[in-house]
Subunit: 218 residues, 2 copies
DNA sequence: CAAAGTTAATCAAACGATTGATTAAAGTAA
DNA sequence: TTACTTTAATCAATCGTTTGATTAACTTTG
């Protein structure tokens, strides 16, 4: 019976069982943390036998790593080559980045939570290094855009580039990672998919543009 | 021998054993998370017998709660009555808040990490509610200051108050909670106490003032 | 074609290790 | 003594993992 329901879900979402387990594990890990999420809980939430996790992913850690490997590739190209495009102004690039980032990232808020949860542990592991490199690519690109904007006179000369970047990521993280604070603060449930689409996304994009426009521009 | 060293440390830091255990536990919890930090690890790091934790704090959860109870009182009065003071402008209040917040919060970065780690779990517990209420007091105060600034014409009428607050806390959290990102970004080790004092604090304060000044002001 | 063999997928049960917690005894200071 | 601290040993529960058996779907063989 459960398998019937499961198969229906899988069929609808056009994903195989392995991917489905990864989806569930991503959510559970993001809610409970790596140590707080037992393999028994993950497997029961996914409706599969406990042994299947080891069968598919080798170990709990293997499952954890696979969650990240699956997403890393799709995050690589968020704003690739945006910094090298000479046909648009630095400010237009910033706006484009804010739009893309706001779209992509808010859609993956479970993963985002998990990502920064892992980064926060700051253990020196292969995974952490890989994630840092992944995130640093975007940071570097942002750095390039901002530097260019200063050089060509679009932006003020005394802007604090690292802090601007920290503001961009930090504001988003605060909202996504602490809904217990941000929901009452914003006045709507930021865990509600409908609210995310109709209110949160436009609000974040609009605010970040206005904020940075005021700070960056001459 | 270990007890001798411990007693020397305690003597130097002028704190009793219970407080010392809480300090160690705060750090370990912030590094490993609640589930990742075993009572054996905490007790060995603190140089005390495992049973002492239960003797002093009743349970692992009791120890965890005590860490927060100890800090909550000192966080209550960060900016009490700042919003009600009519003798200074809203912008001066914001500056004062940024200074106080930047000072207090960066000094307690282990606790801050732990705090937002727990808030991020968004489980509905007494502790979470208490922490939310504690943080909400500051949010409310900020709200009051910003609303006042709009009303008296100091600030623009179309500023997004909730997002301003999210930016203020989010930027700080990003820097404190993900040193693996913020250290290479800022160009110095934000875990180094000396760097925190000489570079990070002034930089955060200065940047937040400039950023908000540009965004808020007419 | 049908029988035999092979494979991957799935399961309940159990493994050893570790967890948080408890105990009873020993130590310490007033 | 008496009351408070500290200890090593031990507890049941839970952890991640492994096992051996069973199922179902293909392949091969005669």
């Amino acid at each position: 019976m459960i398998n019937f329901v499961l198969s229906k879900i899988m069929e609808k979402e056009k994903t195989d069982k392995k991917d489905y387990i990864l989806d569930v594990a991503e959510r559970v890990f993001s809610e409970k943390g790596f140590d707080g999420a037992s393999t028994r809980l993950i497997s029961s939430e996914a409706g599969v036998n406990m042994a299947m996790l080891n069968y598919y992913f080798g170990s709990k850690e293997g499952l954890f790593l696979e969650i990240f490997n699956r997403k890393i590739s799709s995050f690589q190209d968020i704003l690739q080559n945006l910094g090298n495009d000479d046909s648009i102004s630095a400010w237009e690039k910033m706006q484009t980045y804010i739009d893309m980032y706001g779209e992509k990232v808010v859609n993956n808020n479970c993963f985002q939570k998990l990502l920064y949860q892992e980064m926060g542990m700051n253990r020196r592991t292969d995974l952490s290094d890989k994630l840092r490199d992944m995130l640093m690519k975007n940071v570097t690109e942002l750095n390039k855009i901002l530097t260019e904007g200063i050089a060509n006179g679009e932006f003020k000369t005394d802007i604090d580039i690292p802090m601007v970047i920290a503001t961009l990521y930090g504001t988003k993280n605060y909202i996504i990672n602490t809904p217990m604070m941000s929901s009452p603060l914003l006045g709507y449930d930021i865990q509600d998919d409908n609210m995310i689409e109709t209110k949160l996304k436009p609000q974040i994009k609009s605010f970040m543009k206005n904020l940075l426009k005021a700070y960056l521009h001459n």
